[in-house]
């Protein structure tokens, strides 16, 4: 192959041509562009005329199209460009510096925004150095959201302490960083969220925010913050156009429902409450227009339906939904002269939220308010009956509904309807509940000054009851008087002032009440005789009733019945707060006299003091313990004299009572020991039997130990808190290179600040 001599002499056009080819080939190579720019700059001979440099500017501008948006090379390129202009054209320099802030961000129109911003030259200089040094960090940032976050946080940190006029550019830089980070780590919802929050709360520029929102909508619709912000933004967008807004909200929620993952109950709650708030606000502003309210209903129902559809489990229990409805309806009711319309709407709501007791109760309180007309009362009753029927078997709901009904009837209904209510409730409810209702109703009626009528009614009712139940033991008069006494005694004061009553009616509730006090905060160890001895200092004690569990363990409270009513007032003075068995006693007026009466009839259960629980007894051996036949019995007999054996239902465990506490201790020592029984070995279980003194003692010891443990733990925890930061600091230094880069640049900034100052 021959070489033509001429070709070795290169001319400028050839080189330029080559550059064009190279750029066509490698358009994103920053180095190549840099070389091209270098060439153009070198070709310009001396002289400071602006026009001479236009060829260079042309290349710069072309490069800016490709490199300016590059998230690694972008900042370096803009630095180059601004360096170039800084010594040549001041106007252009300022312009470039502004563009530099924005143009590294691939958003259309960003450059335009940058031009419009009025940033002072000194700030630009600062920004310039900031961006330049940061770009060196950026090279080390791989698509790791955490690093980008740190980076943005670092810049934000630097903005602190600046004058307000200087903070804004920083915010823009942070914005840029976040956007670039989010773009380079596409999958990071976190960065997009940060970006959104930053644009909304730091930059506070509606244009920027709307731009960001549109970008995020395209790129990361999974971001929940996006949708929340859209909801918020819709309000400001629509201004005063209520109809437009309330139509827009469901549309946004609809989109969000499609995009967002299901498993975020908090999010949906937030959505709902947010749209709820918006609707509410509009209700306040436009609530005077019935058509708006109607539309509001429709749209709000759509929102709640959408969310319900997405997350049914969570939705079921939400009360918030009902609040808006009821509020709006209330308003509607006040506005419109036609109650039937409101009634229709209420019916509609009950249908939409079937089984929601809150809705039902609100609807009912509306019906009963009188605003809906007299016919509404009957409607309410019908609704209640229906609801009670539907919820049959559901104790909680039934009770709530019944209580509500009773409440409403006693407030708004007449006596007849109250009676009807009671009889209806009687059909569906148990006796105890009815008794409760009666007391409640009795109080309320008394408030209204109609106690007599009620008691008559109640008597009638009780006759029915007694006949139906054919229960001869409790006479109805007795029961009624009981109820009255109890409802009276809730006031408490009049009792002790009524000694006359006690004389002519010995043993009645009033009289017993006057003679007794209720003591709480007793030690579990205190026995009846202990308490009796303690209280005898104030007067002769008639009896003490200790409140126990079914198993005979003291619950720590007791009723003390004195022989004379005068002792009661002495007790309050003398023994209130005094210590018995290590606990300070609290003395209250006695109330539960019916129980006391009942209890006095029963023989008190003796605490089995020297007994143990023996478990895992081989089949057939349990019955032989007392006789002493089997190996088990022999083992137990070694501990001491056995007084009695009570074999429990399952036949493999028994409560064994010994003569004294020594033998109990020995028997407890047998726990988990192996006992030979024929060819097999069995491990025996011996525990203090429940309700015995021993168990109470052991339990208290255990509690004391636990308390001590907690205290020790707290002691240990305190130095731990002090140590934590030290550990963290240690960890930080071990994190690898990218953070180190940040640390270095931190130093760099410190130096920079020093230089500046």
């Amino acid at each position: 192959m021959k070489i033509k001599f001429e070709m070795i002499f290169t001319d400028l056009d050839y080189v330029r041509q080559l550059f064009e080819r190279a750029i066509c080939d490698q358009v994103l190579s920053f180095e190549l562009w840099k070389l091209y720019i270098e060439l153009e700059i070198s070709l310009v001979c001396d002289g400071n005329e602006d026009e001479k440099w236009n060829l260079c500017r042309k290349v710069f501008e072309r490069a800016s199209i490709y490199i300016g948006n590059h998230y690694v090379h972008g900042p370096s390129f803009w630095k180059l460009y601004s360096d170039f202009e800084s010594s040549r054209n001041n106007e252009r320099f300022a312009d470039i510096s502004k563009r530099m802030i924005f143009a590294a961000v691939p958003i259309e129109g960003r450059i335009q925004t940058g031009r419009e911003l009025n940033i002072k030259n000194s700030d630009v200089e600062y920004m310039e150095s900031l961006v330049a040094s940061l770009s060196s960090i950026e090279k080390n940032l791989e698509p790791k959201p955490k690093l980008w976050k740190q980076y943005a946080g670092f810049v934000l940190e630097n903005s602190k302490g600046k004058k307000s006029c200087k903070v804004f550019p920083y915010m823009l830089v942070v914005h840029t960083i976040l956007l670039r980070g989010a773009i380079s780590c596409e999958n990071s919802v976190e960065l997009w969220n940060l970006l959104l929050q930053h644009s909304k709360f730091q930059i506070m520029d509606t244009d920027i925010l709307s731009q960001v929102l549109s970008i995020v909508q395209k790129r990361c619709p999974k971001s929940s913050v996006l949708w929340t912000m859209l909801l918020l933004g819709a309000e400001t967008d629509c201004g005063n156009d209520a109809i437009k807004l309330i139509v827009q909200i469901p549309a946004i929620v609809e989109k969000a429902v499609v995009e967002l993952p299901i498993c975020q109950p908090d999010l949906w709650l937030g959505f709902l409450s947010q749209s709820c708030q918006v609707f509410h606000r509009f209700l306040n502003v436009y609530g005077m227009d019935v058509s708006v309210i109607n539309q509001l209903f429709e749209q709000y129902h759509r929102v709640s339906f959408l969310i319900q559809h997405k997350f049914p489990k969570w939705f079921a229990g939400q009360l918030q939904i009902t609040e808006l409805w009821t509020d709006a309806l209330w308003r509607l009711n006040c506005l419109s002269s036609d109650p039937s319309m409101a009634i229709r709407l209420w019916d509609d709501i009950v249908g939409r939220f079937p089984g929601n007791i809150q809705v039902v109760s609100k609807v009912l309180s509306f019906y009963y308010s009188g605003a809906a007309g007299s016919s509404a009362l009957d409607l309410g009753r019908q609704l209640l009956k229906k609801q009670l029927h539907n919820n049959e078997g559901n104790r909680v709901v039934t009770k709530e509904l019944s209580a509500f009904w009773l409440d409403l009837e006693s407030r708004f209904g007449d006596e007849e309807s109250l009676g009807k209510c009671l009889s209806h409730l009687y059909i569906i409810e148990t006796k105890s509940l009815i008794a409760e209702y009666r007391m409640e109703a009795g109080k309320r009626i008394r408030d209204k000054g109609a106690a007599e009528t009620l008691s008559k009614k109640r008597m009638k009712f009780d006759v029915q009851e007694v006949q139906e139940k054919s229960d001869p033991e409790i006479s109805m008069e007795d029961e009624i008087s009981n109820n009255l006494v109890i409802s009276n005694s809730s006031t408490g004061d009049e009792l002790s002032n009524n000694p006359a009553n006690s004389n002519n009616n010995m043993g009645s509730d009033d009289e017993l009440n006057a003679r007794s006090v209720f003591v709480v905060n007793l030690s579990y160890r205190s026995t009846k005789s202990d308490i009796s001895a303690h209280f005898s200092s104030c007067g002769a004690v008639d009896s003490v009733r200790l409140v126990c569990t079914k198993k005979g363990i003291s619950k720590g409270c007791a009723t003390v019945l004195f022989k004379e009513p005068a002792a009661v007032s002495v007790v309050y003075e003398k023994l209130q707060g005094k210590v018995l068995d290590g606990r300070s006693l609290e003395i209250r007026p006695a109330l539960k006299l019916d129980e006391l009466k009942q209890d006095e009839k029963k023989p008190e259960r003796q605490l089995p003091d020297h007994s143990v629980y023996v478990g895992k007894i081989p089949v057939g051996q349990a019955a032989t313990i007392l006789e002493g036949g089997g190996e088990f019995a022999v083992a137990l007999r070694k501990c001491g004299v056995i007084k009695s054996v009570h074999v429990l239902g399952n036949k493999i465990s028994a409560v064994v009572e010994f003569q004294d506490s020594m033998s109990v201790n020995q028997a407890l020592g047998l726990n988990q020991k192996l006992i030979r029984c024929g060819d097999e070995e069995f491990s025996i279980v011996v525990k203090p039997s429940k309700g015995s003194k021993m168990e109470a003692v052991l339990r208290e010891e255990k509690e004391a130990n636990e308390q001590a443990e907690i205290e020790v733990k707290e002691m240990i925890r305190k130095p731990n808190i002090a140590m934590k930061p030290r550990i963290l600091r240690g960890k930080k230094s071990t994190v690898d290179s990218p953070v180190d880069v940040t640390m270095k640049s931190n130093d760099y900034f410190k130096n920079l600040f020093l230089k500046k100052s």
Binding site: M1, I3, K4, M7, I8, T10, D11, L12, Y14, V15, L18, F19, R21, A22, D25, Q26, S29, E31, L32, K34, L35, Y36, E38, L39, I41, S42, L43, L80, D83
Partner: protein
Amino acid sequence: MSSDDEVDVEGLRANVRHNTQDAACHLRLIDALRNEGDLGEVRIARECFASLGAMPATSWIEWLGDESRLIGVVGNGTLFEN
């Protein structure tokens, strides 16, 4: 010295002829010719490589640096250092 190198260059040329799509062969040939200082030959080899459309950015930069130097421009990326 030169004879060995020339054989080498010829071998590389043959290689390129046989494996026109192999970028490594092209790069080796360009390197060898560049070391020889035969600018005409280098340019031809580079044109040949560039026509394949697979020349890496570094090769372009090298080439453009060389050509810039020929027309008296520094072209080594040092202009912006200061």
